[in-house]
Amino acid sequence: MARRKRYTPEVNKKTALMVNVTSLTDMFTVILVFLLQTYNTSEVQIEPPPDLRMPTSQSEGVLTQGLEMTLSKESLSIGKEVLAQVNGKDFAANDKDPKDPNFIPALFKSLEKTAKETTVKAVKDGQILLIADRELPYAVIKKVMYTASMAGFPQVKLITSSQ
């Protein structure tokens, strides 16, 4: 019994292999347009902590330089240094001044030290970029503003995410 021959398509081995890149170019063009739209031209780069949700605002203000201060539902920090603990609604009792509950001594000391050591003009002028959680009550933010203004930082700029 004769064995049936397996079907093999005819391939012209002399022609060069051509990869069609049109669809790939289309895809990359779309990605390129998207990335150009999100391209950041601001001179200041702020990376909010992942657990912090900022409020949204209609403001179109471009970020300017200043001392970055993070106020989450757990803590108040400047850079990586944690200055005070927050319990969601207020600062921890031991972080507040017993005579003046609006005053945060650790924040005051840190700001005083920064004001003396900094070479950044905006920080010397007393500009703070406050990155705060949107669910925090005004009572907590007020204490930060109060202590900051006492330490010679009267310009608090509220950092928000764009709508």
Binding site: L32, T38, S57, S59, G61, Y138
Partner: protein, 178 residues
């Protein structure tokens, strides 16, 4: 006599996209690194020069112009107090359910701005329980009109009439030291 060969316009041609693809491949990683997928803004911003001048003028002569104050209580009722020449006018805007009535606030501020076009500064006194996001919405609502109204005021420097869409761009938290 030779036979002429005609080329038809139906012939296909291949456009070499490889160099374009090579450029895009180099651009994409650069843009991915420098892109910010979270657009951040800040609330105190640079204002138009004329508005800045008017604010400075208002700061120099605080008694000449009306003083506007928004007091927000724990029940989220907003009391808009306008003081001018020893006369005080208070308008109360109750909360809409559990939320601030920002539409009514904006309408009230537009009405006040029409009467006091040279005033650019207001004072805000929120209650301690008000959340930060609610404060930001009040700041947004006080900054510009929802209906894109324009207000005419006299530029203190040139004496000419200038139009602006700003309501009250300078907001001061006045209960920080209380």
């Amino acid at each position: 006599m030779g036979i002429k060969k005609f080329r038809t316009h139906y012939e296909e041609f291949e456009l070499d996209l490889t160099p374009l693809l090579a450029i895009i491949m180099k651009l994409v990683p650069v843009l991915v690194i420098s892109s910010s997928f979270l657009q951040l803004t800040q609330i105190e911003t640079d204002l138009p020069q004329v508005v800045k001048q008017a604010i400075e003028d208002q700061n120099k002569n605080p008694d000449k112009l009306a003083k506007i104050k928004i007091i927000v209580d724990d029940a989220k009722t907003m009391n808009v107090v306008v003081t001018k020449d020893d006369a005080t006018d208070t308008a109360s805007i109750p909360a809409k359910g559990d939320t601030l009535n920002l539409v009514a606030l904006n309408a009230k501020l537009v009405e006040i701005k029409k009467k006091n076009p040279s005033v650019f500064k207001i004072e805000l006194a929120p209650s301690d329980s008000l959340s930060y996001s609610e404060i930001v919405t009040i700041l947004d609502g006080s900054r510009k009109s929802n209906t894109s109204d324009e207000f005419t005021f006299v530029d203190p420097k040139s004496g000419k009439e200038v139009k602006t869409d700003f309501l009250f761009p300078e907001i001061v938290f006045n209960n920080i030291f209380q």
